[in-house]
Each structure stands twice: as C-alpha cells, then as structure tokens.
Symmetry: C2
Amino acid sequence: MEKKLTITDIANIAQVAKSTVSRYLNGGPVSTKTREKIDKVVIENNYQPNTFAQSLKQKVNHTVGVIVPRLDSTAQVEMLRGLDAANKNDTFLIVNTYQSIERELAAIEKLRTQNVGGLIVLTANLNDELRAALADFDAPVVIQGQEEPSFHRVVMNDLASGTIVGEFAASLSPKNVLLLKIDETKDWAIGHDRFLNIQKRLSSTHITVVNSNFSIAEAKVVAQKAMQSQTFDLIIGATDRITIGALQAGLAMHQNAQYIGFGKSDLSTTVTPNLTSFEYDFYQTGKQIYKLFRMVRDNKPLNKIRIVIDGQLTIRDSTKK
Amino acid sequence: MEKKLTITDIANIAQVAKSTVSRYLNGGPVSTKTREKIDKVVIENNYQPNTFAQSLKQKVNHTVGVIVPRLDSTAQVEMLRGLDAANKNDTFLIVNTYQSIERELAAIEKLRTQNVGGLIVLTANLNDELRAALADFDAPVVIQGQEEPSFHRVVMNDLASGTIVGEFAASLSPKNVLLLKIDETKDWAIGHDRFLNIQKRLSSTHITVVNSNFSIAEAKVVAQKAMQSQTFDLIIGATDRITIGALQAGLAMHQNAQYIGFGKSDLSTTVTPNLTSFEYDFYQTGKQIYKLFRMVRDNKPLNKIRIVIDGQLTIRDSTKK
DNA sequence: TTGTAGGCGTTATCAC
DNA sequence: GTGATAACGCCTACAA
C-alpha cells in the first residue's frame, strides 16, 4: 500500500532516462542490457503504469459504457457475457438503469462526463429525450433491441419470429388463445412486432390480449384475472418469465392449456412442463453487438448499420397435449 | 462529435486565464462578471472536463472494482442494487467472473492496472492464490460472503440460519430428509455453515446429503437421482434455485415432499407451491457493503472489520401439508 | 479577484 | 539505442 512508483522513479533506480523506460514499456527498441536492468526494477517494485496519465495522452478511451435496463434477466446477462467474450481490450462500465428513463438519462450524462469511449445500449427503449441525448453523444453509440434508424443497431427479427410462432400456434388449432404481451409504448419490438404476425396467423381464432410487465409475479396476476372469465387452451407470453407466470396461474386455476414463450432462459427447460419457446441466442447477439461497436468506432461509417438476429422455435412438452 | 474543447479553449473564448476557468469549475472565488462570461461559453459549447486529467492530479480514484461471480443470481443483482443505492460518488466497475478462479485472478490483475480506488468482492470464495492477490492489492478491499479474518467483510449469519431452519425442520417431524447442498470446498459459508446446524437439529432423523451446483437444472438431475432409491418427505436446498430444481424433480418423480429453500428470489413466491425460504435481505446487504467500503477507505482502520447480516425464515405453502 | 508558472505521469519528437 | 524536452488537460500555489 506504499505510494505508487512512477516511470521516473524506476528510471532513476535503473539509471536510465524515463523515455527509455517508456519505450521499454511500449515495446520500442531497447538494448538487451538496458532491458534487463529495467526488467529487474519493474518486477521488483511491481510497477503499474498510471492509466490516467496514459489515457490523457492516448486520447482514445477504451472504457465503453454499457447501459442495461435490468440485470435480473437471462437475455441481458447473456448479452453481457457475449460482450465479455468478444471483448478485445476495452473495459465495460455496466450501468443498470432499473428500467427507469430518468436513470437512463442520468446514466448517459454521467458516462459523458466520464468521457467513455463509446456507448452500448442494451434493449434500448428510446423516447425523444433519450434519442436526443444519444444522438448528441460525442462517442460511437450502438444500440440493441429496437428499430431505431438513426442509430447503429442490432435488432432481433421479431416480425419473422411472430410469423413462425403464429404459424405453429395455428397448427395447434386452438379454440381460445390468451396473448400476454408488453405495452407496446414500453417496448415496441416485443409489444408490437413480436405479436403482430402471431395475431395475423390466428386471425380466425378467438384471441384475448392482455398486457403484463416482465415479472413472473405480475404475469401470474394478470393471467389469473383473465382466466376468471374464460378458459384458454393456448397461451403465448412475450417472454419465458411471463409465460411461466401464466403457467402458474393456469395451474392455480386448473386450466389445462398449452404454452409458448420467448427467450432462452434456463427456466424453460426446468419448469414442468418444459416450455416450448422461440429462442434467440443472446450470447451470440452480445458478440455481434461488440463487433458492430468496434466496426463503428474504427471505421466511422457514414450510414447507420443494422444487424438482424434470427431465432428459432424449440418445441417442448408445453405444447404437446 | 467535434473534437473536445479544453479548459484552455474556453479560457481563450471567454478572454480569461485558464486558471480562472479552473477555479470557476471548482467553485473557487470568481467575480460575478467573469462567472457569467464563462457560464455562457461553457454552456454554449457543452464543455466537459477531461476526467483523466482531473484524476491525474487528484490521485484519489473514485472508480471501485466490483467482482461478482455471476450475474444470473437474485442475490448478486440485489447486492449490486444496494451498492448503487448507497453509492455517493463512486463509479462501479462490475466484473463478472463466471465463477472461475482464473477469471477472478485475471480480473483483480486487470483492475489493479486500471488503478481502481478499491475493490469489492461479492460472494468471495477465496483460495490461497486469490487471498494473496487481494492482500497485495494497493487499495482498500472489502469482501462479502465468506468468513475471511484477514479482510474487511460482510458475512451472512449462516450458522444461526441453519439453527433456525433446523429447528423448524425438526418441528415438521420428517421421516426421511434430503439435503441438497454445495460442495463445501467451493463455498464454505453455504456448503458448510448453512447446513451444520440443520444436520445437528435433525440428528435423530434419516438424512441423505447430496451436492449440487447453483443451477436449477443440475439440482433437478441430482435430486432425481437421489429419488430413484428413496422417497423423501422433506427436502432442504442450499438456495431457492436448488430447491426449485428439487421441487421439479419431486413433481416428475411423483414424490410428495415438503420443501425449504434459502434466498430471496422472486421465484419463491411464484413457484407452485410457494416456497418456504430462509431469506436474507441482499439489497440492504449491498448497502452495508458500500458503507463498510467507504468507512475503510476513509478511516483506514487498523483492524479488520466484520459485519454480520441476519435473515429470517418465511413460511409458505411448500411446508404446509 | 485574477493571471503566471509550474507539475501530475505518460508518450512522442527529436537530436545525439 | 538513448536521453532531453515538450506536450496532453487540469489543478494549485503564488504573485500581481
């Protein structure tokens, strides 16, 4: 816990100029003899360069802010894992905004004052204010989750997913369907796109649509209420968690429905019955996001880039009667 | 996205010396007239001071590294939320180590080179190497989760919890008990302390002890295997997730047991039946950790400080026959 | 109250 | 290959 040594200190100890030490540290040309001298001193004193001084010079900041709406979500955590896996030499500053717009704005502002070298916004759900704040940001920005033409983005192909799920759902010939979705003003991709084609494919079936939030508990309450007046034979939830809430409601209300979820949580295979679910690979998505970010930072493309991630339907017990 | 303005730039524009601008920025004495001049320029140009240059002088680094073994855990995320809530003006650098010792060592090393102003290690599970690395760290370190006398720490009172759970379990007069725990070499607090007094209180009952990891899936597999040769009427899992895995195994194997978990996940109240669980308030724990960290950083106490968090048993349907 | 002149630790440029 | 020396952007005596 002694005070940190500087490049000057070890230069003095090793009897060389500090510029030589700097060269040594950065792999510049150094004679074997002096290299050994410096080696010794550096190791003995466990020298660590001062990052601030380095960054002060280098100007390129390798800290990138990652804004995530919540951490208690498999999708988010998997994307973070993907970012980590693809990461070359950046440091991620993860900021949890707890699904609050105000916190998100504050986070952007704080990250700005911290001069992060870029911004990755997961499950971006932008209003005009956020859009403006991000557009103003003086470093590359990549967002994920929503179709925002004015930003570089990685989006899930929710329209196509809906078609696939809708077709599969139709093939089950349900009589009375419950759709548990998210308010589309809160999450357009999930609340609107994901369900658009489901509803189209089931247009000849009786459908009840109810909004929930992302928690199991809320989904259970909402589903239970819907079940008081009707009996459903197919329930599609906007996420696995939501579907699980519905499943528990179904159990409590003794309704014997089939269930379909979205996501790739470990929950789907551990709940009984195992959940049929439309799955996105969020780990790979995270990698893609990082790659896109690097691309944007390095090449500063003129046009906004859009990457689309497809998923696939995995059929499990919850849709086998 | 223009190049950043410096304090010198705005000094030039405002026709004052840069030291005056610096004083202005730091609340030093500035006349109303010049203040207004500078105000104008700063706002118009949306000036942001360079954190690196600032930190280079200030020496006190307000970036705190937070090492967390996993993010897909209610306990961890709640502690992070507590840290956020208690946070005064630090920036947390969250590093997920994915439960890997190597990654944890690497994380410590990386955080060291980043000169973080401190370290908070959640659910610290230390081996000698980690212990050494942390002891060497040239900034305050606070750990959580394990009884490590050589570190400032916040620990859960797992011994007392075990007593409470054990007594309650005994009151259910079970005939055959399954304990699903964690390998004690992997997590002493949970694997050993948490179960020590449970086993004591149930010493006159037939007990089977099996190890699992923290995932629902693994717990289910392990429990199912145990159930092949025996029928249990009480199952106690080391965490809620583990208990839920067991519960699903029980369902699959048509065993009608009672269940007790540990933790405070939203799962316990959404699963059917609702889980009786010994609950710790990890959000408050997170706050405590931050307070302890601040205390340590500011006062540099000579002795290691230990804070103990108690929990409470919440009885729900899973132990009501 | 203001401005001048260092200095924080590092890297980059240039002579040597 | 090496070593002065000048930046980087900010802060802080100190002098004016």
